[in-house]
Amino acid sequence: MVVNVKKLVKRYDDLIALDHLSFSVKEGEVFGLLGPNGSGKTTAINCILSLLKYDKGEIEIFNKPMSPTAYDIKRDIGIVMQNVAVYEELTVYENIDYFCGLYINDKILRKDYVEDAIKFVGLEDYKKFTPKKLSGGLLRRLNIACGIAHKPKLIILDEPTVAVDPQSRNKILEGIEEMNRQGATVIYTSHYMEEVEQICSRILIIDKGKAVATGTKEELKEMITLGEKITIEAYGVPEKSINSLRDLPNISSVEYKESILKIKALKGKNNLESVLEFIKNENIQFANIYSELPTLNDVFLEITGKELRD
């Protein structure tokens, strides 16, 4: 087990930021910590890294208890925090070199590592730039390079794509997958379910400091009753038809607004077929029709009763 968190409790005065949170991360995983803003992701990461004192619980990394002085553990961890943490005075190259130098003493080896990291995040053309001259996306990439240049075995990234342009975001996500292929175990926090769905092999959904559900994305989607969402662009659908649509077997909800019919179906086969048949029989005019499988947002919605994004 690379990381093992047992019944972690963290309070800020009256607020319980982490409420008996338990999870474990296996070697080679990209482990996603998914939750809305304020759900306790950053707090959990800070506790795991011993940056924050916690009230109860146990944390093991590489099967050893983690503490502020566990330097042999820290040596193999790379962190990328939510806020960009680089020196304004130093150039891109110097920043990466400094943070890498906290882990790697050997100058020649470090030079290779820094060059690798720069190539990895695609900042080759910006080596001599100071952080002030970088755009938001490039700055995030620098932030990541500073955290991973020493080639750690465990990489922890806390919302590394907040406020980043799509191009940089893709570059970052591809980078994380690449590092994972090269053998690193990754813990990735985000409130963007698409990202988590895209790169994480296992996901923990948290809300208000509590674990809501955990598993692969397929497992998570299996946990809920929702089978598929059918959206139809239909004109002048009478109230009566909507009601009888609701009464069909396997249909859990129907909404009709501005010529859009939204239907949620429970798990089962041929849902789309039976809906289509119904519409034909009722002589409803329609233009577009499509069906979606549930997303993690639907999982979150069904379990907590609210949207993942605020």
Partner: protein, 386 residues
């Protein structure tokens, strides 16, 4: 030593800004110091302007000629007729400041060890006539010693001895004189140095502290396998390096410019400034821990440094400051530093007794340093747990 290297690198990055400060201040203090010491020199030179005197000689002798030769170094002889009225007019209208009359038979009586005196008429309360008095007395008293101790000394021999003695004494006078006076270039420079030294220390070190205390960057460093102790040691070492490089450059500049006047007081100036640098480091550390941004530092620095320079005798000599101001000034370390400098400037002899007040001033500066460092530590500790 990654943290040490980083700090030095950041100092170097800020160097262009700091160098501008450095040179402006150096130029400023150099100009102030040279102009102040020039004024002082003019004041001193004033006493060497030759005084107009009348020398009325009722007899010719080798001894009297010797005295006249000695006086000619500081006086112009004005020829006047030996008439009471003419002489009084000359004094009254300021044509002469001093009338010296050698009465007949003076030399004979003097060589016979009798008590005789020259007659003088002077303008009352004149500094230059007092100076002539001094010289005449010195000449005759010295001569008296020779006459009384050397049986049958000839006038020629006596004059030769006197010539030698008085010129030697004059030489000694110069050694104890202007070089050590309160206004040598070094003493002024070391007083003015408070301003550039403190400003550069605070700007440089607080800029570093602010970057270093950035909570996000701290998190990164705290996640690394470097121990807290190692980080703190390297950080402190870097700051000390910076402080002493700045101090060294400033002292070196002064010694270079004033290289002709390096003497025993120089050593104490340098020692005093070294101790003050330690104190300034403490102050910079405190301000860097208090202030959250560069602008706050600039504001605090201006208030603290400029303020203390004005009330502690750095910009305005202590003699010109009111007693209330000085009392307030004594709550700043620069007051004690300047005080020590001024005392060193007045010293002609350097031993433990004469240096005692200087050392006690230095001790006060050290106490300030200790206070600044402890206060900064307390603040940093508070911040860490909040």
């Amino acid at each position: 030593m990654p943290v040490y290297k980083l700090c030095i690198k950041i100092f170097k990055k800020n160097i262009s800004t700091l160098l501008i400060y450095f040179f402006i201040f150096l130029l400023f203090s150099a100009i102030m110091a040279t102009s102040a010491s020039n004024t002082q020199k003019e004041l001193e030179d004033f006493s060497y302007i030759k005084t107009d005197i009348a020398f009325i000689n009722e007899e010719e002798s080798v001894l009297v000629e010797g005295l006249k030769a000695e006086l000619s170094k500081v006086a112009n002889f004005i020829e006047l007729p030996d008439e009471t009225e003419a002489l009084q007019d000359a004094l009254f209208f300021g044509r002469v400041k001093y009338i010296l009359r050698v009465p007949e038979g003076f030399t004979g009586s003097f060589m016979d060890r009798q008590n005789v005196n020259l007659e003088k008429t002077i303008v009352p309360a004149s500094a230059s006539s007092a100076y002539i008095d001094l010289l005449v007395n010195k000449y005759l008293n010295t001569a008296k010693i020779y006459v009384q101790n050397m049986e049958g000394i000839s006038q020629g021999e006596l004059v030769r001895y006197l010539e030698r003695d008085l010129s030697e004494e004059g030489h000694v006078d110069i050694l104890a004189g202007p070089e050590n006076s309160a206004s040598s270039y070094s003493s002024i420079y070391f007083n003015y140095m408070v301003y550039p030294l403190l400003s550069i220390l605070i700007y440089g070190m607080s800029a570093l502290l602010i970057s270093f205390n950035n909570t996000d960057i701290k998190k990164r460093v705290n996640c690394s396998p470097l121990s807290n102790t190692a980080i703190n040691i390297q950080f402190s070492l870097a700051n000390l390096t910076y402080a002493f490089v700045v101090w060294g450059l400033m002292v070196a500049f002064c010694l270079l410019v004033d290289s002709n006047n390096i003497n025993s007081s120089t050593f104490y100036y340098v020692l005093n400034s070294f101790i003050f640098t330690i104190c300034g480091t403490g102050l910079a550390f405190l301000i860097g821990s208090l202030a959250k941004g560069t602008q706050a530092v600039t504001a605090l620095t201006n208030v603290v440094v400029l303020g203390s320079c004005f009330i502690s005798g750095v910009f305005v000599p202590t003699e010109l400051l009111g007693s209330v101001t000085l009392r307030i000034g004594s709550f700043t370390p620069s007051y004690w530093y300047v005080n020590a400098n001024n005392q060193i400037a007045r010293l002609t002899q350097f031993n433990f007794d004469t240096l005692k007040p200087v050392f006690s001033d230095m001790a006060v500066v050290m106490l300030f340093a200790a206070a600044f460092f402890s206060l900064a530590m307390v603040i940093r500790k508070e911040r860490r747990y909040s």
